[in-house]
């Protein structure tokens, strides 16, 4: 093509097409219909994907709630308990004189004989742990020794499941956890009004147990609480200070780069690696106590630290430079600028990041398994250095147990955990949306 030809001249020699596009032709119309069909299919796929993701969440929640809400209810049996002084080994007078004698009294025997008298020895209806209620009764009033008192006692897990309709009675006797005598006893008691269902204080108020009807989440919940407190006390100040240093004071040099790279990568390191760190450093090198909330909290603090640093930096970045300039302009020192002006403005964002980090720590399991927080503990932890477990680990421990009573308890614990986490997360998301300042 000769360069001296004008573009217009060239165009005249080069017709683009002989005729305008014939949009009305059948082929074109069919093509457009096909394109619109593809459009609908594509959009439908989007809706479907969203529906599957949402549906799964719904399915998960429904499944867990359906199998877990029963754990908040407890079945109790009305038993006429005969406090036989001879069997107990303590008389009313002795008990009044020295209440400490009761710690050695044979409440188990009293309970067993009372239950046998009431239901025969084929049917096991009353939980092994129910004798604690007898002791409380006597401690409150030693006068009951020698008398027969009707008492509501915790039923066995099997009776509990039976009463909640969770056991398939069509199955052969050998295939179900309850024998015919127990089913008969259940029907009789039900008819006589000697069974009742009440709020499960045991589940909400005690620690783990080998018996599902005596197992509770309070121990794990308190362990979680202690652990997260340690995590918060360490990771929040350290995280915020790190973020302030990196955003406001650090010079752009190799050192700062190393810190930045460290933080960004720590944020994506699998949580179990932090467990290995905790095991190797806190337990093996520093000889800190195994299974203790303080070690769990430290480990989780290292894990959540990057989350808090990243959120805090983003929120410091969002504070406009004009505010810094204004403060510097009236003679504030750089440290005063940061602590008087930048920090208060950035605090909501930092808190949101911290809350999300704490929610993550609260739901974390794997690193805590590494430092031994999966111990079987029947007592509620009393201090930071005492063996404890946390709620997610309790769920993990129980999930290994296939008995119906524990499946229910596992789901119940999940409901409690999810309720906590969803509340915390929703709070964080709400705060974030509320304080999302546009400068």
């Amino acid at each position: 093509m000769a360069t001296e030809l004008s573009t217009a001249a060239a165009l005249r020699r080069m017709p683009l097409s002989a005729a305008p596009t014939s949009w009305a032709s059948d082929t074109m119309q069919a093509r457009i219909r096909k394109r619109y069909r593809q459009e609908r299919i594509f959009k439908g796929l989007g809706v479907l994907a969203l529906a599957i993701a949402g549906g799964f969440l719904l399915f998960l929640l429904v499944t867990v709630i359906a199998s877990g809400w029963n754990s908040f209810r407890q079945t109790q049996v009305l038993v006429p308990v005969t406090f036989d002084a001879a069997l107990l080994g303590v008389t009313a007078e002795q008990a009044r004189a020295d209440p400490r004698l009761l710690s050695r009294a044979n409440f188990q025997g009293v309970m067993a004989s009372s239950a046998e008298r009431a239901f025969g020895d084929d049917a096991e209806l009353v939980s092994d742990g129910a004798w604690l209620a007898l002791r409380e009764k006597v401690e409150a009033d030693p006068g009951v020794i020698g008398r027969t008192v009707p008492m509501w006692l915790i039923a066995t897990s099997n009776m509990d499941q039976l009463a909640k309709g969770r056991i398939d009675l069509e199955a052969a006797e050998g295939d179900r956890p309850v024998n015919d005598a127990e089913v008969f006893a259940w029907r009789t008691l039900e008819g006589e009004g000697k069974l009742r269902t009440v709020l499960n204080r045991t589940f909400l108020g005690s620690a783990d147990s080998v018996d599902p009807e005596l197992a509770g989440i309070w121990g794990a919940l308190k362990g979680s609480f202690l652990t997260v407190i340690v995590t918060l006390l360490i990771s929040f100040p350290v995280g915020v200070l790190t973020a302030i240093y990196l955003e406001e004071f650090a010079a752009k040099n190799r050192w700062t780069d190393i810190v930045e790279v460290s933080i960004n990568n720590l944020a994506a390191v699998p949580s179990i690696i932090f467990g290995l760190l905790g095991l190797a450093v806190f337990l093996n090198v520093l000889n800190m106590p195994r299974s203790a909330p303080v070690v769990g909290g430290l480990t989780l603090a290292l894990m959540t630290l990057p989350v808090i640093v990243i959120a805090s930096r983003a929120s410091i970045k969002a504070v406009p430079p004009s505010i810094r300039d204004a403060a510097l302009g009236i003679g504030a020192s750089p440290v005063q600028v940061v602590f008087h002006h930048v920090l208060p403005l950035a605090l909501p964002g930092m808190l949101t990041g911290t809350i999300l980090g704490m929610a993550r720590a609260l739901g974390e399991t794997a690193p805590l398994l590494m430092i031994g927080m999966r111990a079987f503990l029947t007592s509620v932890p009393q201090g930071l250095a005492q063996p404890a477990t946390v709620l997610p680990v309790q769920i993990f421990i129980w999930s290994d147990n296939v008995s119906r009573g524990f499946v229910e308890k596992t789901s119940g614990a999940i409901i409690v955990l999810l309720a906590f986490l969803l509340t915390i997360n929703s709070l964080a998301i709400y705060l974030r949306n509320k304080f999302e300042v546009r400068w």
């Binding site: 093509m1 573009t7 165009l11 305008p20 596009t21 949009w23 093509r31 457009i32």
Partner: protein, 274 residues
Amino acid sequence: MNEMTLSANPNSANLADVTVTPERPKMTARDVRVSYGEAEALKGVSIDVTTDSVTAFIGPSGCGKSTFLRCLNRMNDTIPGARVKGEILLDGHDINAPDMDVVQLRARVGMVFQKPNPFPKSIYENVAYGPRIHGLASRKADMDGVVEQSLRRAGLWDEVKDRLADSGTALSGGQQQRLCIARAIAVNPEVILMDEPASALDPIATAKIEELIDDLRGRYAIVIVTHNMQQAARVSQKTAFFHLGTMVEYGDTREIFTNPKEARTKDYITGRYG
């Protein structure tokens, strides 16, 4: 005008019975009003666009000229909360009517944007994109022909013929904008809308775009939005002056620039405000 003048479109689905003569406007707008939420951006605009001339929309920023331009191929549909009232006809058919297919409409009324927006694909694929989605060229040889002709028409062929596989985003700003024009031409449109096509370009690239617009006149009905009055005077035959959401004056470009009827037009053209 030459023999290639796009006039009638006898095969079109919606206008088989219409014969368009050069006198008959390609697009007609009557009392077009646009509002975004509560705010009314366009307060009743009426105008005719013809094929044999380039129409320029001028006016200060925020006067509604771009908003109006986006109505002509229903790009305002993509803005949440935008509502368009009034009548806009393409070859006598209401483009906002339910039976008007927006995909066809936009293929027939092409658009070039203020900022060059080539796709992050090769130069070839940028131009071939439109014909491909509309099924205008089935064979590879046909597609090569369409790409070459479109690029030639946009005056870009000689500059890029040896590197069609390079990314469209690797070109200079002016070349990118001509690529976008080639992309618009490739689907064989009837109208081309240009929204300040040269505002992001340097003077040399701008001159090339203006030359190109002049070359394309007669083939396509061209509407150009510009804030540059010299540009409007250079490339257009008709000019509409917009101010505060209304069209103040519309007429021959020569007339508007030498002898405006309205005081506001005169003030704007002479640089009292803008």
